[in-house]
């Protein structure tokens, strides 16, 4: 046996381990959704026949249509707005030179290090004065100017061929037209990746919606799931069924954009 083969074998073992570690929780979740609470506690890790039971329990206890609608509206609107605002900012930071540009950008990056918990109370005071507590607007607005996404778009814009912008200018396009008709199509892959990141962050957002959404009919699926786990005798099968449901939209977006992601890359080369 050669050294290379041993090395290859080791790599495979390591990768299999890593794959197992990342896939197992997912497997456990799916399997759990088909078992009863008692079976889950006993550690049963094969498919069971309680899927229907868990589904019925979930839909009886949770107003699923309403809750998923809430989560969906918040995540979609927040993603669209975040991409619009933050990509414009990233574009602007890279395209326009100014004396304070780098200092301003550095200041923004510095803000990234402030934990959200520290901003929560002042933020709540602001929204309460604006009479926006318990609205989707209150959940969405603070996420729209995402410093991380601005940074991400600025980095990506560095790779945007400036000649394209110059050529468009000569053709007589205005700045907003360049952004919409030249920059946007070229940067499709960046938008696709950013969509995955932003959608996931908003779909899974927990702390701020928890604090600012007050009535049951406005809550998102993350909040509802957290509430279900806290019962004195939690129905784990039902909770895992809900968790599976809650994972589906993110999975869907991911697989949908994974394809676009590649398409976008090809488009950029053309």
């Amino acid at each position: 046996m050669t050294f290379a083969m041993i090395r290859r074998g080791l790599v495979y073992i390591l990768l299999s381990l890593a794959a197992f570690v990342s896939i197992f929780p997912f497997y456990w979740m799916v399997v759990g959704a088909t078992n009863t609470s008692a079976e889950i506690i006993k550690g049963k890790s094969s498919l069971g026949d309680a899927l229907w039971l868990n589904a019925t329990a979930f839909f009886t206890q949770v107003d699923a249509v309403r809750i998923f609608w809430n989560s969906g509206v918040i995540a979609v609107v927040a993603t669209v707005l975040t991409l619009a605002v933050s990509s414009l900012a990233g574009y602007g930071f890279e395209m326009f030179r100014s004396r304070i540009r780098e200092r301003l950008f550095g200041f923004l990056l510095l803000l990234l290090s402030i934990p959200f918990a520290a901003m929560m109370v002042p933020l709540f005071v602001m929204f309460s004065q604006a009479k926006l507590v318990n609205t989707f607007t209150a959940v969405i607005l603070p996420t729209v100017a995402s410093i991380f996404i601005i940074f991400y778009f600025r980095q990506a814009t560095k790779a945007f061929p400036r000649e394209l912008r110059d050529a468009a200018k000569i053709d007589g396009l205005k700045e907003w037209q360049i952004f919409l008709y030249v920059y946007l199509p070229v940067m499709r892959s960046t938008y696709a990746a950013a969509t995955i990141i932003v959608f996931m962050a908003n779909w899974n957002n927990y702390l701020w919606p928890l604090v600012v959404l007050q009535t049951a009919e406005n809550k998102t699926i993350t909040l509802i799931l957290s509430g279900l786990t806290a019962a004195y005798t939690p129905d784990y099968g039902m909770i895992l069924f809900g968790t599976v449901l809650a994972t589906l939209p993110t999975l869907f977006i991911f697989f949908l954009l994974q394809r676009r992601f590649v398409e976008g890359m090809l488009g950029a080369v053309k």
Binding site: I40, I41, K42, Q61, V73, V76, V77, V80, L81, M120, V121, P122, F124, V125, S128, K131, V133, N134, T135, F136, T137, I140, L180, Y181, P185, L207, L210, V211, Q214, T215, A216, E217, N218, K219, L223, I224, S226, G227, T229, A230, A231, Y232, T233, P234, Y236
Partner: protein, 424 residues
């Protein structure tokens, strides 16, 4: 390019349409809103109380929100009270007794004193004491966490013990019994989770002590009850009587599947135990053992919560009247929630009702509810203070070394030091 532009226009249109859907649901007048954290237990109980009140007062309706966990409720309440914004807060909120003082002291004026309008002597006094600050009581006590020693009567019988052998004993005696049971039938005495200080706290409270002095300062290094409790805890492990578990599911799983002989725990566990109908007749409940020291009694508490009225409530008058009429005056209601939900309330007069006197075949025909309510009236009052969670964390940090036979005095010193740091 036109096609792209129109598609983009549509997306923007959709986004705007989405935003315009955003609505504010305002609480209507005459609606009492309540935050609770368990649908089947405190949620349904409160809904039932609401239905009773609404029957006599048709203009008052109830909105019981049970979609948040207890931690979630705390996070929301804390943020809002810190922000000084009471918008959207409920009229009534359920708070666990051991954090009540923290809220009362941290947010003066946020909660409505109730002792002026409701006679607090009707309730178990240790529950009232937990929510009393400067001579005023701020809560209507709900479920009691009065403790009992749940045991597998079939296991103990097999090992040669009767129900009387478990009555009014000390923890040391329980360890002797446990050692014999283990030798004869091979089952460990109890299951313990090193991340849960429940048993230590109930031992301490049975001697009328807690982590704090009357002035709120730490009462650790000179706390004889805590020292004894930690020694007892260590003895469980040193005599090999423990099935170690981790997390709630494993904890309940161990005793509901017959792996241990006894469970010292709050009365609220009854529903979990009785959920296993095949074990009917194989369980019994004895008074909780006491620490072998002066002042210790065979009664204690674990958990339990109470109803608090927020001062910001728009329906204060109706809310207090509701609590007074149903929660502080309707014995029949307490019979009902005992039968349906297994909720042992804290209203002392309720124990004279039929449901409390009934015997339970699951527990070998013993009048368990009567027993629990007798012990309820004997639970020593302690001051839970504002930093119980912090000291708990410090105790947990020392447990691994304590069960290995580490020096208890050194551990107490370490607990005191860590807690002191956290409290600053």
């Amino acid at each position: 390019m036109n096609r792209i532009a129109s598609r983009r226009g549509r997306v923007l249109g959709l986004a705007l349409a989405g935003v315009s859907f955003l609505s504010v649901a305002a609480a209507s007048a005459g609606e009492i809103s309540v935050w609770v954290w368990d649908k089947a237990f405190n949620g349904d109980t409160m809904r039932e109380a609401g239905a009773i009140y609404s029957a006599d007062h048709p203009d008052v309706t109830f909105n019981v929100d049970d979609t948040a966990s207890q931690d979630d409720i705390r996070a929301k309440l804390q943020t809002q009270l810190l922000a000084g914004s009471t918008e959207g807060l409920p009229d009534i909120v359920l708070i666990q007794d051991d954090v009540a003082q923290k809220y009362l002291q941290s947010f003066p004026g946020a909660f409505e004193p109730l002792s002026d309008s409701i006679d607090m002597s009707l309730f178990a006094q240790y529950k009232v004491a937990a929510a009393t600050l400067d001579g005023k009581s701020y809560s209507v006590p709900f479920d009691s966490g009065v403790t009992g020693l749940f045991y597998r009567s079939d296991y103990l019988q097999e090992a040669g013990f009767t129900a009387d052998d478990l009555k009014d004993i000390t923890w040391d005696r329980l360890i002797e019994i446990g050692t014999e049971v283990k030798a004869k039938i091979g089952k460990p005495l109890l299951d313990l989770d090193l991340n849960d200080t429940g048993v230590i706290r109930m031992m301490m409270q049975s001697a009328g002590e807690w982590y704090f002095n009357a002035d709120g300062s730490l009462h650790i290094t000179d706390n004889a009850a805590l020292k004894k409790a930690l020694e007892t805890y260590a003895k469980f492990y040193q005599n090999d009587l423990v099935k170690p578990v981790s997390g709630w599911a494993e904890y309940t799983g161990a005793f509901t599947s017959g792996e241990v002989a006894v469970v010292p725990v709050g009365v609220w566990i009854t529903a979990t135990i009785k959920a296993n109908a095949d074990q009917s007749g194989k369980w019994g409940v004895a008074p909780i053992p006491r620490l072998d020291m002066e002042g210790a009694v065979n009664a204690s508490n674990q958990g339990g919560s109470s109803w608090f009225v927020l001062s910001s409530s728009d329906n204060k008058e109706e809310t207090i009247d509701f609590l007074k009429t149903v929660w502080a005056g309707n014995d029949d209601f307490y019979q009902d929630i005992l039968i349906k939900r297994g909720a042992v309330g804290s209203l002392l007069s309720a124990r004279n009702g039929e449901a409390f006197k009934a015997s339970d075949e699951f527990f070998g025909g013993a009048p368990v509810w009567q027993d629990f309510s007798t012990w309820l009236s004997q639970v020593p009052s302690v001051d839970y203070g504002t930093f119980t969670a912090e000291v708990d964390a410090a105790v947990q940090a020392q447990l691994p070394s304590i069960i290995e036979g580490g020096d208890i005095d050194a551990a107490l010193q370490a607990i005191s030091d860590q807690a002191q740091q956290q409290m600053q």
